[in-house]
Symmetry: C2
Subunit: 440 residues, 2 copies
């Protein structure tokens, strides 16, 4: 007897959950045409199941007990949209233990506890879908895991956090300071009351960690990824970037080396005429170079109710297809066979080589420029350009320099020496530059 319905148990009835219920209702016939059977949310569990949502839940069982989902043999797939770590992890592990396939959008959980969850899923022969965890509606997980399966991933340059990109776009276009834009973003609902998760690049690190696992088939330790957020970014540097032909974006960067992977997240100057620099507002984009494919760019909404629901529903349909074929795990969870997964070796940040932008707060006195450039030269840091602005009445003037490719370790040593000079009044601002075609 062939199935007539694939039943989903939704746990966590927030924004994205509401979007999924709405999308499955609104496009019910379309999904049935694609899948051949009905795909429907049968039960919704939430600790607050009483408060009415913006959509009708007619025909859906509502409960505040997740066991009503786990113990229902007619439910095929558990959709975890609770978010966060502890509770969500228990839900996923319980669902897996009950033999349910699972779909989640929870990048934090996968980045932190992915290894344990993936192992449990493997052991219990269930499918786990997580397309919505990186890039929202942008199918970057499927691209890395399936479409680029024949490629060595040479590099990923990603704008992976819409909130940061929204803030940076307004800082650039409207020449506003970080604090002003953040406050407005919070009022508009584009940023959380506690913005640290976004602006300190924690969210981006979660997404980069998942992308690394899919690209290199290996486990990565989240804490080993170098991470700098955008909270300290000054309008002055946005303006100097403009003068130098750059825009500043928060980039998540992965670069394949021979036996190691370079992984880092920081505000980055990229050429104004590059594709990534045209990615504005709260959009995401993934610039991926495969050794055969060449450069690919994937762009779209990385968050939001319906874009995230789009990715979740594609996972539900995927798993529905496997259920119909009575198979599981057609594609390995990380894209690589389990017995071929090693721990990932990250290049130490100090060994990274890239171009740099420095803004020195120097006393406006003859000879200072020569002292600074002398120290840089001692550390093998060669200059690409220098901007010295007009004298001001205060004691310090900004001196801006950009470098050719230099080693992070040398840069740190040189800046420590320079910051210790009497003629340097404030810590030097450092922003890395990527303009070697990696972002075009």
């Amino acid at each position: 007897m062939s199935r007539k319905t694939i039943n989903v148990g939704l746990i966590g009835f927030g924004t994205v959950g509401t979007g999924v219920v709405q999308l499955l209702k609104q496009n019910e016939d379309l999904v049935r045409k694609r899948l051949g059977v009905r795909l429907a949310v049968k039960t919704i569990a939430d600790i607050d199941i009483i408060t009415p949502r913006s959509i009708s839940t007619e025909g859906i069982e509502l409960t505040d007990d997740v066991n009503d989902i786990f113990n229902d043999p007619s439910i095929d797939i558990v959709l975890e949209l609770v978010g966060g770590l502890g509770v969500a992890k228990n839900i996923l592990m319980d669902a897996i233990a009950h033999g349910k396939h699972v779909v989640t959008a929870n990048k934090a959980l996968l980045a932190v506890d992915g290894n344990e969850i993936f192992e449990a899923a493997d052991r219990e022969h269930i499918n786990i879908g997580f397309e919505a965890s990186v890039g929202g509606a942008v199918p970057v997980i499927k691209a890395l895991r399936e479409s680029l399966a024949g490629n060595n991933i040479k590099s990923i340059f990603g704008i992976m956090n819409g909130t940061c990109n929204y803030i940076l776009t307004r800082m650039t276009d409207e020449r506003l300071p970080f604090e002003t834009v953040l406050k407005e973003a919070q009022i508009l609902g584009f940023a959380e009351a506690d913005p640290a998760y976004d602006v300190d690049a924690i969210d981006t690190a979660h997404k980069l960690a998942i992308s690394l696992a899919l690209s290199y088939g290996k486990r990565v330790n989240l804490d080993d990824i170098y991470r700098e957020g955008i909270a300290d970014l000054k309008q002055q540097d946005v303006e100097f970037a403009r003068q130098l032909g750059y825009k500043i974006k928060l980039l998540a960067i992965a670069i394949q080396h021979k036996d190691m992977v370079e992984a880092r997240i920081h505000p980055t100057m990229i050429p104004t005429d590059s594709l990534l620099s045209s990615v504005n507002g709260n959009n995401n984009a993934f610039h991926i170079v495969g050794d055969a494919s060449g450069t690919l760019l994937f762009y779209g909404q990385g968050a939001g109710m319906m874009p995230t629901a789009s990715a979740v529903v594609s996972d539900l349909i995927e798993i529905g297809r496997d259920i119909q074929k009575k198979i599981w795990r057609r594609v390995p969870i990380r894209g690589f066979k389990k017995d071929r997964i090693d721990d990932i070796r990250l290049l130490p940040m100090e060994e990274v080589r890239t171009n740099y932008y420095f803004r020195f707060s120097a006393v406006d006195r003859p000879g200072v420029l020569s002292v600074i450039s002398g120290i840089l030269s001692n550390y093998n840091i060669s200059l690409a350009s220098v901007i010295q602005t007009e004298r001001k009445d205060q004691g310090a003037v900004p001196v801006v320099m950009t470098t050719h490719e230099s080693r992070e370790k040398d840069v740190r040593l040189a800046l420590a020496e320079i910051n210790g000079l009497d003629v340097v009044l404030d810590d030097t601002v450092l922003i890395r530059i990527e303009d070697k075609g990696s972002t075009t």
Copy 2:
């Protein structure tokens, strides 16, 4: 007994075939890590199998008889890279009849004979992969068929032909005439000796036809798609476009209406600050709007040896995974269940509504502008802007007008009347404009 190797029989040992052999060799271990077994070309058939290629074929059987592939029970997948219609069709149909899964990059064949080939594949329970047929390395087929499976595809705006985009980019950036750029492109190998297939948008029509079938799950008649190439495009109009804030791109356009689909291909003015207008050189890009996903953009190399090989190998791995699971056709060929596929209804071109650019060759005489705009007004065509250039010593001056949204039928009737005027010395140039957010 589990398989140790998935064997591929390659028919057609040209550029892409060479790329596939090279990629499978160069990334052999990577593919094995992903697939769990070896994926290898066992036999290559080509009418000219004697002439040495740029790569080693050690360990591969070479033949000029395709039956050596069809009759080899150890060959799982036939890779058709012959191209063209007749011969390629016979190869695909024979492969299917022999129970081989097939992979092809042949968009012409699929656009023309897809229905027949897909039906045979369905009947014989074999898989058919064709990711390389549209967008080269850009995984647009998988995106439309799987990642966006929960979405109604509201629109597709695609730059689907690299040769045309290369020509248009140079016409725009270097202000060169079409003929000059085409000649250089032919010398550089970016355009064929007979350029009609590219510049007359035949290739683009094939790709749009395939995209339509995947988006709307229906069969489309290739000849019903409105098609205009770039061969008649004048540098003068590229320049006027620039003045108006547009770039000209050859766009393949699909727009979902209630019970119909609008499908057309023509040179199109799009805003200079849109993402699609930043797609330069021989790149492809697909701007897709889903009702849940919102706007997505996929960008990359739409042709070339290794980018096309990347897509082919992803198909081979896909089918390899199905072979290991002993399943076939997990995803319906067009993404929709066979019994839910209807013929597609295309909106007649005359009913299309968009914005227009006109360049009139008018006698430089008082009142002419008023006569022209009067006729346009009679047909409910309202003007957005007018550029009247300075007088020249010749009799005719270009008069440029752009319109608000107008109906194609009205435009044609109005231009017929205007072209018949004594004061209009040459046929009016018409270029459609898309600037309503569809390309941003």
